[in-house]
Amino acid sequence: MEQSGASLLERDLAKLIVQTLKLKIDPAAIEPEAALFGEGLGLDSIDALELSLAISQTYGYQLKSSDPQIKTIFSSLRALAEAIEKNRTK
């Protein structure tokens, strides 16, 4: 299954999520606009913490929950990729 219009960064990020969280799914099956937490992939706050470390190591972007945009940033693969694009240092 190919993601509908997923960008290169979105595809890399989907791989990072699946690998970091050991999800038993094909990275290409993560829809860019679908919810990552709660009902979507069913991720929780420990996943968010684990993912934040991987994102920091890979892209040099440190996530903060005091960021007013945090809910939006974690809402989907696309939103997370956009935030990384804007804040990445590597």
């Binding site: 038993k24 684990e50 996530l63 903060k64």
Partner: protein
């Protein structure tokens, strides 16, 4: 001695002046004056019930609700999770319970009251309420093998005694004015003891929020107006060390909920120039012992706590515990009263600092419509921050997604199995038992077949 202590009263908060900061966050400081007014005003507006589920997410709101409930002689129920079915079940067992919330989120089937902070400073001067030490003020829940949450009643004497003994052990003195930041939830027993009771008994300031990411922890500690204290877990501490966050030196770190590896404690002490102490405890007895992790494996019981070992079990005794409480871990007690922890009793698992019995989880699984058989399993620890549970389920005609969706209403997210595998049958032996080795083998075969993703 016991009679004398039982008759005593201890003030709701200790060692503060009225204009001291009791809590702070991005919205500014909350002084003691403001807190007492907020609590008194909320107490007046609470319904006339005997038990309350305090679900406030903000630590200051939680404290105001807790204090208001104490003033109204209501017991605060501390559920292990916010899963809707857990809350309903607890509310059902303590009939007439209502929920206190601070985000306006209602729980279907439970009356909810939103925490309004209307503290009018004109109420001053007011007396600090004095609470009898034998009054039950909180009920913590633990998982049992029956699938029902087991209540553990906490008296004001027990909570204040643990706070005093912990403070004394850590060398916290009245007037130290530490700034406490906590990553643990205040509804968790360790969270209540270390991030709420410890501060209010010693005149400390607490951050009202609950940081998750290392960058959040860093900015809260950097904002602290005085020497900081971080109340946390091995999981969050590992994340902070791995991100090498830079924070003012000289703080104090208190970790609990799971054993802290000594090399991690060493790294944290060096990197943050802070002492790292650990608390050993469990919901049934509260915090019972402390150690500075780099000093060795031995746990020193807190003042007033005695751990006794007989042939079959270990029991904790303290004046504030109505009966001796069995220790849920395998431990060896030395003649000087210190002890070493070897591991959990067979049925208990710890995922990200949350303890639950596998028997309890299995019972929940079997209650799901269409599930004929099922078992949870905790694999050996891997490289990730947290090792998750797996589950094998026999449920013809059901998909693992359907079962996961139902399960989510009953268990805390940390216990959700990854993966939940549907199988035609489980390797039960002739007597119908399911030996751990067989489940372990099933898991090994599954992981080998599916690869482990990483």
């Amino acid at each position: 001695m016991t009679v004398d202590r039982a008759m005593r009263e201890i003030p709701l908060i200790g060692h503060y002046d009225v204009d001291d900061v009791l809590a702070w966050d991005q919205e500014g400081p909350r002084t003691v004056r403001r807190f007492l007014a907020d609590a008194a005003s909320l107490a007046e507006s609470l319904p006339d019930r005997s038990t309350v589920l305090n679900l406030a997410t903000n630590r200051y709101d939680f404290l105001v609700g807790f204090a208001a409930a104490i003033m109204r002689r209501q017991m605060t129920l501390l559920p292990q999770s916010r899963a809707s079915q857990t809350l309903l079940r607890i509310a059902g067992e303590f009939s007439g319970s209502y929920a206190l919330t601070d985000r306006g989120d209602a729980i279907e089937g439970i009356d909810s009251v939103s925490i309004q902070l209307r503290g009018d400073q004109a109420l001053w001067p007011m007396d600090i309420p004095r609470i009898p030490t034998d009054r039950v003020v909180a009920v913590a829940f633990t998982s049992g093998s029956t699938g029902r949450p087991m209540p553990n009643k906490k008296t004001w004497g027990a909570l204040t005694a643990v706070a005093q003994a912990t403070g004394a052990r850590l060398g916290i003195k009245a007037g130290d004015r530490l700034s406490v930041v906590a990553t643990v939830p205040h509804q968790h027993m360790f969270g209540l003891e270390a991030s709420v009771m410890l501060p209010i008994m010693h005149g400390l300031a607490m951050h009202a929020g609950r940081p998750l990411f290392p960058a959040d922890i860093r900015s809260m500690l950097a904002d602290a107006a005085s020497r900081w204290m971080l109340v946390t877990t091995p999981l969050h501490l590992r994340a902070c060390v791995s991100e090498s966050i830079s924070i003012p030196p000289g703080g104090l770190i208190l970790s609990a909920t799971a054993p802290l590896p000594r090399n991690l404690a060493q790294q944290a002490e060096e990197h943050f120039q802070a002492e790292v102490h650990e608390i050993f405890g469990f919901a049934e007895a509260g915090s019972i012992a402390e150690r500075r992790t780099i000093d060795g494996d031995r746990w020193q019981p807190l003042e007033g706590v005695h751990v006794a070992q007989d042939a079959s079990s270990c029991l904790v005794q303290a004046w504030y515990l109505p009966t001796p409480v069995p220790v849920p871990d395998r431990i060896t007690v030395d003649t000087d009263g210190t002890f070493v922890v070897h591991g959990r009793e067979a049925d208990q698992v710890n995922v990200a600092g949350h303890r639950i019995s596998l028997g309890d989880l299995n019972q929940l699984l079997l209650k799901i419509d269409g599930v004929q058989d099922g078992v949870f399993f905790l694999p050996e620890e891997g490289a990730s921050l947290v090792t998750r549970l797996m589950a094998f389920v026999v449920a013809p005609g059901k998909t693992s997604e359907e079962i996961q969706r139902t399960l989510r209403a009953y268990v805390d997210p940390v216990f959700m199995p990854r993966p939940l595998v549907c199988v035609p049958s489980l390797p039960r032996n002739a007597t119908g038992k399911l030996p751990r080795e067989s489940v372990s083998e099933l898991a090994r075969q599954w992981l080998e077949r599916e690869g482990d993703g990483a």
